[in-house]
């Protein structure tokens, strides 16, 4: 009996976004990283083209993140106090494809560092490593408008990926992306309709969607993961079916979000029977990340070296077929 061919035939291709500029392209990166370009759902290499494999961005911050568990700080080591050295370690020892720098030091409710200091950190990281850079603000919108402007100028021409444009600050992000030749993350609060809205607004403001990566706001496993997973899927299916406003690569900010939930913070003295945190923490990060990998994430940020190794292995295995 003939086996019926059940392969889906999609009509559209996801846009490609290239992060990082080499010397010939006006930057100083040793290489660039291209994501997107799929003509099929994640990992279905038998059904369509997946020209660029999903990539891993090593998570760093300009100050030691509040609340990170000891097991993670120890795994990072002393370099946690120096963003440049931290980035170097992630590149040299953990072989990450990019660095994802969160500029929480500028948070007015925290260290309240100046935009100039943040820009210095961005420069220091760019000097220390030659992989492409993603950098994010501190999530205080007023602070971020000035902060991202200054950091963007400091990294002019390096084609960084900057997070993130929202329904309210899209004009600022679009303008600095254009002025300094960077790519922009469009972020929506776990809401596919707002996700599309931000893309339309950026496009209407004159920023090309060829320079945008979507972020649905990342949820850790057990904390709304299934909602975000579904949005990733719906965005990708809409894009493959021909909705150009949704045919964009996607980023899951796993490394930043997972290390806030009790499963990744508390050891078995508080959670008896849950196993040692030393194993459970990286496992929680790895499981969350591999979930998003299957939902359609093109970029995954990860913090723990063991998670980075495990997720890379998963990508290798799943892309090998």
């Amino acid at each position: 009996m003939e086996v019926v061919d059940t392969k889906e035939k999609w009509t559209n291709r996801i846009r490609t976004v290239t992060i990082g500029a080499t010397a010939e392209e006006g930057g100083t990166r040793a290489n660039s990283v291209t994501v997107g370009g799929e003509t099929t759902l994640p990992l279905l290499t038998f059904e369509g083209e997946i020209p660029h494999r999903p990539v891993i961005a090593g998570q760093i911050a300009d100050v030691v993140p509040d609340g990170w568990p000891q097991i993670l700080k120890e795994a990072v080591g002393d370099v946690i106090n120096s963003p440049a050295e931290w980035a170097q370690k992630l590149v040299e020892e953990d072989h990450v494809d990019l660095i994802s720098l969160k500029l929480i030091g500028a948070d007015p409710a925290g260290a309240a560092r100046s935009s100039a200091e943040a820009a210095e950190t961005v420069k220091a990281v760019l000097d220390a490593v030659k992989v492409p850079l993603i950098f994010w603000g501190c999530d205080d919108e007023e602070t971020d408008n000035a902060l991202l402007l200054e950091c963007s100028a400091a990294a002019r021409g390096e084609r960084c990926l900057i997070g993130s444009a929202t329904e309210t600050n899209y004009r600022t992000l679009g303008a600095i992306g254009t002025a300094d030749k960077h790519k922009v993350i469009a972020e929506a609060p776990v809401d596919i309709n707002i996700g599309k809205q931000v893309n339309i607004l950026l496009q209407d403001a004159g920023f090309s969607l060829d320079d945008v990566v979507m972020c649905q706001t990342t949820a850790a496993l057990g904390y709304g993961f299934d909602y975000v997973y579904t949005i990733f899927e719906r965005v990708r299916i809409a894009g493959l079916k021909g909705d150009e406003l949704m045919a964009l690569p996607q980023i899951a900010n796993v490394g930043w979000e997972v290390w806030k939930v009790k499963e990744a913070l508390q050891d078995d003295d508080i959670l008896p029977g849950w196993g040692k945190l030393e194993d459970r923490g990286p496992l929680w990060e790895t499981t969350t990340a591999t979930g998003y990998l299957q939902a359609g994430a093109d970029i995954l940020t990860l913090a723990h070296p063991r998670s980075i190794a495990a997720v890379r292995q998963a990508i290798d295995d799943l892309m090998a077929s």
């Binding site: 809205q197 339309i200 209407d204």
Partner: protein, 257 residues
């Protein structure tokens, strides 16, 4: 919804003049306007102004020099098509073939060879069908020929042939039913298209009638229309209908301004 801009047609005086004088200005103007309004293809029609393929090639090259939007080569003459397709960028749409074998056997292999999509008018040598069944039968011939030539069914844009509401009022619901039945040919289904302004021919409420018909056609699966893409009320009604059919994801800013 794939909107096919209808304006670059020598039926319009300014375009006719442009072609006669070899003045690119009106063609460039309408190519740019329609592309900005979101046209997925730009129909280019030489009409009866000339039978010289070189004139059609000049029109296409002029439009392609102004915008990136793919071309819909609008001619029923294989000799003009054969020359025009050589200067047209990939991703073009051919307008059109019918189900008549002598036409289908010539046009479909050209589409297949050039990786083009093609509009299939569901008429044959006996003329335009008046029934649903005959429309579907002719559509089946066109889709079958496409598949025989190795083309995916969705590279065919089936045109049920829209008749003027004013003069053939009974035809409207048959056209809509035919569109619905075209969806059953394959998965994903063939595309469907219509020359929208035919529906309002001779009426005093052209825009309202075009818009209402398009919304009803979308409800039955219509995926494309050759129309006035500058009519924002028309375009926004179509986009809204597509939201209601769950073909697009809603966003507050979905309407075109």
């Amino acid at each position: 919804m794939i909107f096919i801009g209808e304006r670059i047609n020598t039926g319009f005086k300014d375009i006719k003049q442009g072609v006669t004088d070899k003045d690119p200005a009106p063609l460039v103007h309408w190519a740019t306007k329609q592309a900005e309004a979101g046209a997925g293809f730009l129909d280019v029609n030489l009409g009866a102004v000339s039978a010289d393929p070189a004139d059609m090639c000049w029109m296409i090259e002029t439009v392609q020099g102004a915008v990136e939007t793919p071309i819909c080569i609008d001619t029923n003459k294989p000799t003009i098509l054969a020359e025009a397709i050589k200067v047209t960028r990939p991703g073009m749409l051919i307008n059109s073939t019918t189900a008549a074998p002598e036409k289908l056997d010539v046009m479909m292999p050209i589409a297949a060879e050039h990786g083009a999509c093609i509009i299939g008018l569901v008429m044959d040598e006996s003329g335009t069908p008046k029934s649903v069944d005959k429309r579907v039968e002719n559509a089946g011939m066109i889709v079958a020929k496409a598949m025989e030539c190795g083309m995916e069914p969705d590279r065919v844009f089936l045109d049920p042939i829209v008749m003027p509401l004013k003069y053939m009022q009974d035809q409207c619901k048959m056209i809509l039913e035919a569109v619905r039945q075209f969806q059953l040919f394959s998965d994903p289904p063939p595309n469907t298209v219509c020359g929208l302004s035919n529906i309002s021919n001779g009426t005093t409420q052209k825009s309202l009638i075009d818009r209402t018909f398009l919304v009803m056609a979308i409800n039955n699966g219509m995926s494309s229309a050759i129309c006035d893409v500058m009519d924002t009320e028309l375009v926004n009604a179509a986009l809204t209908a597509e939201l209601m059919m769950d073909k697009q994801i809603y966003a507050d800013a979905y309407v075109r301004k």
